[in-house]
């Protein structure tokens, strides 16, 4: 029987190949994701451990609470005097201090050098102990006074070399340095496209405003001293606010942020692989169902020859198992190619990921193959049971239809139940009480899967009506071919429904994303226009990095500037929870206008040393009113008590502030190197070209600072969202490509099935181009059905999500929906090319003889 299945597949190469593609694409994505992220993981591990090769122990500043990565908040530095104390310990051979911070390199054109959104890292280096340096020297010499070393990758891209001058901006204005050498980060050119700059310790301390302080001490023990013993010895003399780790522990700690990023990237990309596989399951299910229907006589003959139902079922399952396995193996190896491609792509957009060779782990092989094979198997179960219902008598009698299954008459009720269960799951996930993130995601994913399956099943009864409507223009203006296309699309509702369903899923997800994004943009724009009453905003060039406070101070000096208000942000501990807090300087009162529940806009300028304001929700949650005290613990461990002076009602786009907002003066006292996320400027005369020029002039010493009008500011803030949106579209396109193959497959099979019919049409005078037209139109009708159901479903799903996130107002993405519908028509046209050509090539005479 197995041999029979294999031979059967070999006899149906084209359809097997087209069906297999549906699996291959999904598995490629899964395998590629694993290979990519594993490779990055290993490369980073190697980098971080190489950095601490000669280090037995490290001493670092300790924040008062766990800082979440990427928050921009760093642990406070500690007094430099600790270093000689540590060096004096009996088992310590060496103790080298260092500082780090953000260091912008400024090109000869006066602009800061940035690659994509990559960070700009600055370090101190000790020329006497290169083995203790994070950076390794590639060319030239370690830096002395007034000198800098930069990474080879930036140097080669910006044509920098030893001996040249370069500007560096850290906390203050730009300072000019001479390049003394070129360096690498550990063993790699750079990480994530970051620019690297190294200075001697006093220079770095000055640049990062950490004079007399250190971020880290690296310690080497005397020979024969165990690391544990060394750590114990150091721990005994550590002042509060510092901690000691072994070199290995420190490497793991440093790797934590990147590990979290890689793990996020892994799950993010895997999700799209799994979506593609889910869509693929529909395609496989559909192709197999059609194939079974076309093999009725063959299967019936097998039954007359003594094959049992089990054998027939087994033969179908073996066939899909073999196809699924081959497709998964192909996908697995194509994943290697995809990972290589993604490395190149990231490199091309300036986000260079370290790559020390592709990692092809057992987990990658097992998970990719299992996913591909299991999805194929599941999709083949129903068709396999359908095959068992082929009656033996079909071997001798023409036109015997396969009896509907036992549950067929409950099809619509079952579909309705599945759909309702799906929506119930979604609702529970969104609005259920006390669910953790994992449960929320689980319910939502499960809910969506059920909704998609249920809607796909429910749509079959709608097909005749939908084809009637969508086929009308073709039938009206396309003559006989158009009318036939409409009827063909409607003659097998089940088939059309499940073909369209594959495309529906992709379009529903794309629409969901577009609706969410559109609503966010709309709401955000509204919120900015509501609260931001200044003329200009000052942000970093990349729109999100914090900028030195000196920039705002410089802007305030410019002629015509009436007020500058800046907002700082960072992590704090409030009511026992680490959360973002914000700080404002008095100028904010003139550029930001809030809707106050208690207090007035004057509060913004009158916070003083111990004043604070919070939003309505937070006040309600913690029972706060004007006059209530709030305790805020800062990253340095100090706790201050602040008195509520005002409570505001945030706009629907979300509050621009953290949980608690205090004055900039109070903030700066407790946070190392405070920075502004943005500053707003009010100018005499408002938005004019002259004013923009004046501001630009004032900010010239801060190349990373950018002046934007209100409109530009909104645009800039949204641009990040737009790039994310584009990435999502590209990744979702994968599942649309899978459904495209599904449509091709259905059409090819339908053309094959209708060989005799098409031959007859040709014989009675249908031209080749009419034949092509007929197939193409049928294809477009099918895709449009998928598109319409998908778009409606996507909008509904987005509506549900927006209902949950009450910060966003729903906005219908009209333009995008039109674009998606046009794209669906294109998918239909594209899918029809090959099947239409096959249909047109049929020789009428041969087609009629076809048996």
């Amino acid at each position: 029987m197995i041999r029979f299945s294999l031979k059967g597949m070999a006899g149906r190469k084209l359809r097997t190949a087209l069906t297999a593609l549906a699996v291959i694409l999904g598995v490629t994505m899964v395998s590629g994701t694993f290979v990519l992220t594993d490779s990055i993981d290993r490369a980073f591990d190697a980098i971080f451990s190489s950095v601490y090769v000669g280090t037995d122990a490290t001493i670092t500043g300790k924040s008062a609470f766990e800082i979440s990565n990427g928050s921009g908040t760093t642990a406070p530095p500690f007094q430099e005097s600790l270093r000689p104390e540590v060096a004096a310990l009996p088992d310590v051979a060496d103790a080298i201090g260092g500082v780090a911070g953000d260091a912008q390199l400024i090109g000869r054109d006066g602009k800061s050098i940035v690659f994509g959104g990559a960070p700009n890292l600055g370090f101190s280096v000790d020329p006497t102990r290169p083995d203790f340096n994070t950076l390794t020297l590639e060319k030239g010499a370690w830096p002395g006074r007034g000198e800098v070393v930069v990474d080879v990758s930036t140097a080669s891209r910006k044509k920098l070399d030893v001996g040249q001058e370069i500007g560096v901006q850290a906390e203050g204005p730009v300072v000019q340095f001479r390049i003394s050498g070129l360096v690498k980060f550990g063993s790699v050119d750079t990480i994530g496209g970051a620019t690297l700059a190294g200075f001697d310790l006093p220079t770095a301390q000055a640049l990062f405003r950490k004079v007399g302080k250190l971020d880290q001490i690296r310690v080497a023990g005397k020979p024969g001293v165990s690391r544990a013993q060394l750590v114990r010895e150091i721990r005994a003399i550590l002042p509060p606010g510092t901690q000691v780790r072994t070199g290995t522990e420190q490497a793991a700690e440093d790797a934590k942020a990147t590990n979290e990023f890689i793990s996020f990237l892994r799950y993010f990309l895997l999700a799209f692989g799994v979506i593609a596989l889910f869509v693929g399951a529909f395609v496989i299910f559909n192709s197999l169902s059609i194939t079974i229907a076309q093999r009725t006589r063959e299967l019936a003959t097998l039954r007359t020859l003594g094959a049992s139902r089990r054998q027939v079922r087994f033969s179908v399952i073996v066939e899909s198992l073999v196809m699924g396995t081959i497709a998964s193996i192909l996908g697995l190896f194509l994943g290697l190619a995809l990972a290589t491609g993604l490395f190149r792509l990231f490199d091309a957009v300036g986000f260079t990921l370290p790559n020390s060779g592709l990692v092809f782990s057992t987990r990658t092989i097992v998970v990719s193959l299992l996913l591909g094979i299991i999805v194929t198997l599941i999709a083949s179960i129903l068709p396999a049971f359908k095959a068992t219902r082929v009656p033996p008598i079909a071997a001798v009698r023409e036109g015997v239809t396969i009896a509907p299954g036992r549950f067929a008459r409950f099809r619509t009720p079952i579909a309705a139940v599945i759909t309702i269960l799906g929506f119930a799951g979604l609702f529970w996930g969104l609005f259920g009480p006390d669910l953790d993130t994992t449960k929320i995601l689980l319910f939502m994913i499960l809910g969506m899967v059920l909704v998609f399956i249920g809607v796909a099943m429910l749509s079959a009864p709608l097909i005749p009506g939908l084809t009637g409507i969508l086929g009308w223009p073709g039938a009206r203006f396309g003559g006989a071919a158009g009318a036939l296309a409409r009827d063909n699309a409607g003659r097998n509702p089940q088939r059309t429904a499940s073909t369209a369903a594959a495309l529906m899923i992709g379009l529903a997800l794309v629409t969901l994303v577009a609706t969410l994004a559109g609503s966010v943009v709309q709401t955000f724009t509204g919120a900015v226009n509501e609260i931001f009453v200044g003329d200009y905003a000052i942000t970093a060039r990349n729109n999100f990095s914090p900028i030195p406070t000196d920039a705002a101070a410089a802007a305030a000096q410019a002629p015509g500037v009436l007020a500058v208000g800046s907002v700082r942000t960072g992590q704090t501990l409030v009511f026992g929870k680490p959360d973002f807090s914000t700080a404002v300087d008095p100028g904010v009162g003139a550029v930001i206008n809030l809707d106050w529940v208690s207090g007035s806009n004057a509060v913004l300028a009158e916070l003083g040393k111990d004043g604070a304001f919070v939003d309505k929700e937070f006040a309600k949650k913690h029972d706060l009113e004007v006059g209530s005290p709030v305790e805020v613990t800062f990253v340095n461990g100090n706790t201050g008590t602040f008195v509520i002076k005002g409570i505001f009602d945030p706009p629907s786009g979300g509050s621009p502030f953290g949980v608690v907002t205090i004055s900039a003066a109070a903030w700066d006292a407790e946070n190392p190197s405070p920075k502004n996320v943005y500053s707003f400027v009010l100018m005499r005369g408002g938005e004019t070209e002259a004013n923009a020029a004046v501001l630009g002039q004032a900010l010239a010493p801060f190349p990373n600072a950018k002046v934007a009008t209100r409109e530009q500011f909104v645009e800039n803030q949204i641009s990040g969202l737009k790039s994310i949106l584009n990435v999502l579209y590209v990744l979702l396109a994968l599942s649309i490509v899978v459904s495209l193959f599904g449509i091709i497959n259905t059409l090819v099979l339908s053309v094959f099935e209708r060989t005799r019919e098409i031959g007859m049409l040709r014989a009675i005078g249908m031209t080749r181009s009419q034949t092509r037209w007929m197939i193409r139109h049928e294809s477009v009708i099918t895709s449009l059905i998928g598109a319409i159901i998908g778009i409606i479903l996507g909008v509904i799903l987005a509506g549900l999500l927006i209902l949950k996130i009450d910060l966003i107002d729903f906005s219908f993405p009209t333009l995008q929906v039109i674009v998606f519908a046009v794209a669906a028509v294109l998918v239909g046209v594209l899918a029809a090319i090959f099947p239409a050509r096959r249909a047109a090539k049929l020789n009428p005479l041969e087609a009629l003889h076809y048996e």
Binding site: M1, L302, R303, P391, I393, A395, V396
Partner: protein
Amino acid sequence: MENGDRAAVLVARDVTRRYGDGDTAVDALRGVSVDVPAGELTAVMGPSGSGKSTLMHILAGLDRPSTGLVTVAGKEITDLGDSELTKLRREHIGFVFQFFNLLPMLNAEENIVLPLTIAGVKPDRAWLDELIGSVGLGDRLHHRPSELSGGQQQRVAIARALVSRPSVVFADEPTGNLDSRTGGEILELLRQAVEEMGQTVVMVTHEARASAIADRVLFLADGIIVRELSGASAPEIGAAMEAISSE
């Protein structure tokens, strides 16, 4: 299956078959009783719509009678479930179809042994060689059906029907899709199977020439057996058919 007692391999008693119900009901068979003796070739004849195909489907267990009994090799089959019917087909029934029904991806030999493959039985090489020799396919064994002529395909189908030495072979218009010369060869093969192997064969046909090879011819009209001839020649059978059709 030693010849001699001529026991009935196939027995039908008062078989009726009604399709549909109410006003649109059609009675395809209206009370048919038949005994098919072992080792004989029985032909079933009748005009279109006489019920001859329905009778064959019911005798072969492909369709169920509305009332009445059918036994194959002594076993009553009318109430059997699907898996018992499958077992019955494996052990007792062979088929020869009008359109050959060979599996296109298997070659001639694979098609021939397919019933054994399905049953999980290893073919007896000597028997297989004898069978292949007797249907005259020696040099075409490794060809696919698409590379064989219609006559050759039907030879493969006959070998396939005989390979498991079933109690009875049903042949449904075996010459219906062949020219008369090739059809003649196929009929000879069927006759040969009866003569040399003692095979029981039931053949449905509308050709008098085909029925002439039968030991016994049953004539059906409007769902009942109206006449029976034994050892009749083609002209006699033709005349009988003529008489039935004009009634």
